[in-house]
């Protein structure tokens, strides 16, 4: 929920609470005052000197008249029989006298608000009581009017208060909104977006400043990292190119020597060894160059393409090398992913040449292509010796079986190349033990719709 909405809800609650609170308080307070003033004339009736009921009654009626009190007066004896002396214009139409008076007589002198009336029983002697009934309707009407008035005033006041609060918080809210927008720009990588600079409370100003500092240092770190990555890449690039020229010369002369006529078998074999080592160096350099191109978090532009024909054509290329193996392929006729053809060919040819290098000639190969909701999974399984350990990220130059890989001329970069190349087109490579007994390479590519 947005801060602004929360604030609005809070302010509405404040308005409600203060309106209801003020009205309730006013109602309670005014009720008390009005009731007091309603009963005040009765309190000045003094019956102590009066022994005669008629005298007492007369003085009560006189007082009510002189004070202009609109009351109903009944005479009640201990048996509860009532005689109405005076009828109020505002008294309730129903006549509660007998029963209520009886109850009143149990607690003589007190009064309570029953049926919009206040009853007061006064002992006028000779076991007779004057029950004075005052209507509270007027009081209630006043009270209600007051409630409305106070409620309205409080509504207006809290409205003013809320408006003032919102006005005060408005600049802070806007500043926060700016910061939020800025943060999302930064997250999108737009590090050059100018930092927001809106006036606000001290905390907001601090937040803005700290945020700016944070982004600046982030920018510096990124630039540093980028430039060191570029330097590294340039170094590998330059080094590889510089190595290529002397390598061409060495390779060429070795080839000239190897192919000249009249060489003995031993000389030929020595030169052939040197030729194969030169080829290894050549592959190593081109692998390093390739890694510099696709590795280090690089992203390659991808297009939707059908992975199945690419996989099949790479497999076809390896058929002569796989002729002694059982190779199973289980794939739909087409399956579109987001990728790059050259990179996909590199990945598959690496996977297949790994099998040629590191498994026995009779080891089986199983390839499957399957589509899930959002990815396409290509798995290449073999029944070879597998890996001694299954890492998440392959270590460069690590050769899993030293004796074997040396004799097969592996450079130890194949796994890294597949891993980085898959990642460069937004995919993922996982190595795990295969059901066939060897290595299972799983490539997850982004599906294209």
């Amino acid at each position: 929920m947005k801060l602004k909405s929360k604030l609005n809800i809070l302010l509405v609650l404040v308005i409600l609470a203060s309106t209801v609170g003020a009205a309730t308080a006013a109602s309670i307070f005014s009720h008390r005052i009005e009731m007091n003033s309603l009963e005040a004339p009765l309190r000045s009736i003094d019956l102590t000197s009066k022994g005669n009921p008629n005298e007492a009654l007369t003085s009560i009626l006189n007082l009510l008249q002189s004070e202009n009190v609109d009351a109903t007066v009944d005479i009640v004896n201990l048996h509860g029989r009532a005689t109405r002396l005076l009828s109020s214009s505002t008294a309730p139409k129903t006549d509660p006298t007998t029963r209520d008076a009886q109850r009143l007589l149990d607690q003589v002198g007190s009064s309570s608000d029953v049926n919009n009336s206040v009853y007061t029983a006064l002992n006028i002697g000779a076991d007779q009581y004057a029950v004075i009934i005052l209507s509270t309707l007027q009081v209630q009407r006043h009270q209600q009017e007051l409630e409305y008035l106070v409620g309205a005033v409080s509504l207006v006041l809290s409205g003013i208060f809320v408006a003032a609060a919102r006005r005060t918080l408005r600049s802070d809210l806007l500043a926060l909104q700016d910061l939020e927008h800025y943060a999302s720009e930064v997250t999108r990588g737009e590090l050059d977006t100018p930092a927001p600079n809106r006036k606000g409370s001290a905390e907001i100003a601090n937040l803005q400043r700290e945020f700016g500092v944070m982004v600046t240092s982030l920018k510096e770190k990124l630039l540093l990292e980028q430039s060191s990555r570029e330097m590294m890449q340039r170094f590998v690039d330059d080094a590889s190119h510089e190595l290529r020229t002397p390598l061409t010369v060495i390779k060429g002369f070795n080839e000239l020597l190897l192919t000249q006529e009249g060489l003995g078998e031993e000389e030929l074999s020595l030169l052939a060894t040197s030729a194969s080592e030169i080829s290894r160096m050549e592959r190593l350099i081109s692998d390093l160059l390739y890694l510099a191109r696709v590795g280090e978090g690089r992203e390659i532009a991808t297009t939707p393409l059908d992975v199945v024909p690419i996989l099949r054509s790479e497999l076809h290329r390896f058929e002569p090398l796989f002729e002694s193996r059982v190779v199973q392929i289980n794939a739909p006729s087409s399956c579109f992913i987001l990728g790059d053809e050259e990179i996909l060919r590199k990945i598959f040819s690496n996977a297949f040449s790994n099998i040629c290098r590191y498994t026995r000639l009779t080891d089986d190969v199983a390839i499957t292509v399957e589509r899930t909701v959002d990815v396409v999974i290509v798995t290449v399984d073999d029944s070879g010796p597998g890996l001694p350990k299954y890492e998440v990220v392959p270590t460069r130059f690590e050769r899993f079986d030293d004796v074997r890989s040396r004799s097969s001329g592996g450079a130890g970069l194949g796994m890294s190349i597949m891993y980085e190349a898959t990642r460069a087109i937004g995919g993922q490579m996982v190595m795990r033990p295969s059901n066939l007994g060897g290595l299972s390479l799983e490539f997850r590519f982004r599906q294209s719709n």
């Binding site: 061409t248 080839e255 000239l256 006529e261 290329r317 002729e323 040449s353 097969s408």
Partner: protein, 229 residues
């Protein structure tokens, strides 16, 4: 005899190409930079120019642009240590005929040179025919004859024989054969090569004619009858 201009600022490459091309029977002209290359090319009219891209004074592209202003026919083969696709496209756009990446194999380069020259020079039918004793291989029609007898070879067998015959008398390594016949660019333990060599031998060898010899641990070579090996 064809005359070839070689331009590279790397002395090693220059001397390698000089040696390799001379051995294959070409005459050579050498230039150590682009300006010198342009000068020699205009003056001496070579049959083919082999030009490195990264050279001082004039680089390979600049050489091409200027050279092509008054000579559009002489073929130019570019050498480069870079393998970016753009470089290839740029080179071809400026009028290069072919492109070889460093580190190249001498063998590969020689084959490309021969192919370019075959394209631009008036062809004699014999250029397309490889012979070894009574064995006659027509590269154009893919027909193989031993004497009057027509020998039926599969496409792979034909290509294998062709690659071996093109280098008669010289060793062709297993790696080269795998690359050129099967397009497999790495050394691998495979019996496919031996299998195919045995197929070809079975088809072309006679009791008194067995030109395909095995060089143990290295590869194969064709020994012409009459030549001493």
């Amino acid at each position: 005899m064809s005359t070839l201009l070689i331009a590279d600022d790397e002395a090693g490459v220059l001397s390698l190409l000089d040696e390799a091309l001379k051995r294959s029977g070409y005459a050579t002209l050498l230039a150590a930079n682009g300006a010198e290359a342009l000068d020699i090319a205009r003056r001496s009219k070579p049959d083919l120019c082999i030009v490195d891209i990264n050279m001082p004074l004039l680089n390979g592209y600049e050489f091409l642009q200027r050279f092509r202003q008054d000579d559009v026919n002489t073929p130019v083969l570019l050498l480069s240590a870079r393998d970016a696709e753009e470089d290839v496209i740029r080179g071809l756009k400026y009028g290069a005929d072919d492109y070889v990446r460093k580190p190249f194999g001498v063998d590969e380069l020689l084959l490309r040179v021969a192919a370019i020259l075959r394209r631009v020079q008036p062809q004699s039918a014999s250029d397309l025919i490889l012979r070894c004793g009574e064995l006659v291989v027509n590269i154009d029609t893919h027909e193989v004859h031993f004497g009057d007898e027509l020998i039926d070879l599969s496409a792979t067998e034909f290509r294998l024989l062709e690659v071996l015959l093109e280098r008669t008398g010289r060793v062709v390594t297993r790696e080269q054969l795998l690359r050129e016949v099967w397009n497999i660019d790495f050394d691998s333990e495979t019996s496919v090569l031996d299998t195919y060599v045995s197929y070809v031998r079975k088809k072309i060898h006679r009791s008194d004619f067995a030109p395909i010899t095995t060089v143990r641990g290295v590869g194969f070579k064709i020994v012409s009858p009459g030549a001493t090996s």
